[in-house]
């Protein structure tokens, strides 16, 4: 039994395919035939290029650009001449020469003060490994053409691995390194396959062909377990499949409580691909499109056209269903190296989100232009993040108005009925929500930040994580205040934080009168099932009772019965 970090949920049972990449032992020798050595190098490079071209022909757009960069590294004249130079002048064998040159380049990139550039070191490692394997005449496991379904065990899963994987043949990942936000974890979740990462040295403990079972929720891997355990996992897996099938039946149904209260169940997304998944999972709208991902992992601001295309795609996927697109929310824990923002003592209380947008208006205007242009393709709603005062709403709206006028002058169409709303995630905004409600079309409560700001708990600080608690009575009182104030002014109120998809709190939020719940795509169907089984009238009483309670733990224990 091995313990790691559960990175993608689900139960899986299958045979291991061990990706052996780390095991090449490079010896340094003095060679005699320089030409022969150089020839070996040239062949290894040529084969690597061919392999990448093959992978590229089957890859998606995102992966293609990574692979293009890999091809450019392989053909890099400095790389080639440096290796050849070492062979010629030092009479070094090609393997050692390549290793030395790669190390030099990797260390240059790893030492850079720019995170984006540091990440390029991984690309060089990745492509260097391929060339090295080819020098040894070992073929890298061809993940594109697996004969039977396997669980992949690897030190780490790299972008070029996932680029070539046939999702249907991969039953799960287990890796030595990584955390919940590493490439391997993110890819596993997006491919919807179970994964456990950060297992330490699992690649030393398993070999190809071993039978492995694990539950991605638990983070525990069992290798060649007894028959009784295999049977247990098989039963759990069957149950999981049956439950999923049961939930699938709810894809096209409405979210209505037993006594007829209709709710909108929406999904949080980061890109158009997520929108497809949300739609497949029965989301009735997009409650939060986090546009910052368009700005991340790149060297420059996305152009208006790039943004327009992404927004348009999401709007078209969702058709007439509402799509709330949040304007850029950068800063805090999300950095954009190319904006060269100074390091701050308290980034969560600092220069971020709407504060940046109202200061660097060209960034904001580009985004608003793209949004307005895309608005004709669906049901767009615009949402400003990190609002703490009425002035900010007015300023943001006046920029929006300017952009609208620009478009009119240029005869560019945009929808005439775009709702504009705000995130309520700063206690100040919650407290004056009766004032803010008069100037916006909707509220969406962002609980992740609202909890952290209300309780003065840095949600990244593990020492005080016990204080970061959605059952905190002050947090629940603020949520109720915001919903009531919104309704008094005739606007609807939604929620797009983690809490909205939390089965423990859904009954309370329903009772408080929340109109829209936005959550990850995977939570939509379970939430629909839950709400269909609840009575709104009864939950109103439950919510009232909860609001009278004064201890978080007691509230948590009390609401358990409605889960």
């Amino acid at each position: 039994m091995f313990k790691g970090i559960g990175a993608s949920s689900g139960i899986t049972i299958g045979k291991v395919l061990l990706l052996e990449k780390e095991d090449i032992h490079i010896q340094r020798t003095t060679i005699e035939n320089v030409e022969e050595e150089k020839d070996k190098f040239k062949k290894a490079i040529d084969i690597s290029k061919e392999q990448i071209e093959v992978i590229k022909s089957k890859a998606g757009e995102e992966q293609k650009s990574i692979l293009d960069a890999h091809l450019m590294v392989l053909q890099d004249p400095e790389l080639i001449t440096s290796v050849e130079e070492k062979i010629t002048s030092k009479k070094l064998n090609v393997e050692a020469a390549l290793e030395d040159v790669l190390k030099t380049f990797i260390s240059i990139f790893e030492a850079m003060d720019d995170e984006y550039m540091r990440e390029r070191a991984a690309d060089i490692k990745d492509v260097g490994q391929r060339a090295m394997m080819n020098l040894f005449g070992k073929e890298m496991t061809n993940l594109a053409e697996l004969d039977e379904p396997v669980i992949i065990a690897a030190h780490d899963i790299t972008p070029s691995d996932t680029a070539q994987m046939n999702g249907e043949k991969v039953l799960g990942f287990i890796t030595d390194i990584g955390g919940r936000t590493s490439h391997s974890a993110i890819m596993a979740r997006s491919m919807e396959i179970p994964a456990i990462v950060g297992l330490g040295s699992i690649t030393k403990e398993v070999k190809t062909g071993d039978l492995v079972v694990f539950d991605g929720n638990e983070g525990i891997v069992m290798v060649n377990p007894e028959a009784s355990i295999i049977k247990e996992y098989e039963e759990r897996k069957e149950k999981e499949i049956a439950e999923k099938a049961e939930l699938r039946k709810l894809v096209n149904s409405h979210t209505v409580s037993k006594d007829g209260r209709k709710i909108e169940l929406a999904s949080n997304i980061g890109n158009p691909k997520d929108a497809k998944k949300a739609s497949e999972n029965g989301a009735e709208g997009i409650g939060l499109y986090r546009t910052e991902f368009l700005y991340m992992d790149r060297a420059n601001l996305p152009t208006e056209e790039e943004q327009f295309l992404a927004y348009k795609e999401v709007l078209k996927i969702m058709g007439q269903r509402p799509v709330i697109i949040r304007t850029l929310d950068i800063g805090g824990d999300k950095e954009l190296p190319y904006l060269n923002l100074p390091k701050e003592m308290n980034p969560f209380l600092g220069y971020r989100a709407i504060r940046i947008c109202l200061d660097q208006k060209y960034i904001f205007k580009t985004q608003l232009r793209a949004l307005l242009r895309a608005s004709v393709y669906g049901n767009l709603k615009i949402m400003y993040p990190m609002i703490s005062s009425l002035e900010e709403i007015r300023q943001a709206n006046s920029v929006l108005e300017e952009v609208k006028q620009d478009l009119q002058k240029e005869n560019i169409d945009y929808s005439s009925n775009i709702e504009v709303g705000i995130m309520i995630e700063i206690p100040a905004a919650a407290v004056i929500s009766h004032m803010l409600a008069k100037e916006v079309d909707f509220f969406s409560i962002g609980t992740n930040d609202l909890i952290q700001y209300t309780t003065a708990v840095d949600r990244m600080n593990e020492k005080i994580s016990y204080l970061y608690n959605p059952f905190n009575p002050a947090v629940l009182a603020l949520i109720k205040l915001v919903i009531d104030n919104g309704h008094k002014e005739g606007i609807w109120v939604g929620m797009c934080g983690e809490v909205a998809g939390d089965p423990r709190l859904i009954p309370v939020l329903l009772g408080m009168g929340l109109d829209e719940f936005s959550m990850s795509a995977a939570s939509v169907l379970p939430a629909r099932k839950q709400i269909q089984g609840l009575s709104y009238e009864e939950m109103q009483k439950v919510a009232d009772k909860v609001l009278e309670m004064n201890i978080a733990d007691a509230i948590e224990a009390f609401v358990k019965q409605y889960q």
Binding site: D68, A69, M72, V73, D76, P77, E78, L79, F105, I108, F109, M112, D114, Y116, M117, R120, I124, R298, A299, N300, L301, T303, Y338
Partner: protein
């Protein structure tokens, strides 16, 4: 051999995208092209070399071209810098 000094104007420096453009253009010519910044220099056909120089906004780069098509080569590379790499 001819050369000219230019100032990098794009906000994000010579990152992957502009560097890729330089290489794509540079590879169309036979001449040797060298970028020089202070004491650092790099072959302009090398992605790793160019990116490792870490050229930032406002920094001067000397572009040195040597070869049969040097005039045309230099003009093309300068034009790239002046167009801000299409950004």
């Amino acid at each position: 051999m001819i050369s000219k000094t230019v100032v990098l104007k794009n906000d994000t420096g010579l990152h992957a995208r502009p560097a890729t453009l330089v290489i794509k253009e540079a590879s169309k010519f036979q001449s040797n092209i060298t970028f020089i910044k202070g004491t650092q220099e790099s072959n302009a056909k090398s992605i790793m070399g160019l990116m490792a120089m870490g050229i930032k906004k406002g920094e001067e780069v000397e572009i040195k071209v040597d070869g049969p098509d040097e005039k045309e080569t230099l003009d093309t590379i300068i034009a790239l810098f002046e167009s801000n790499f299409g950004e």
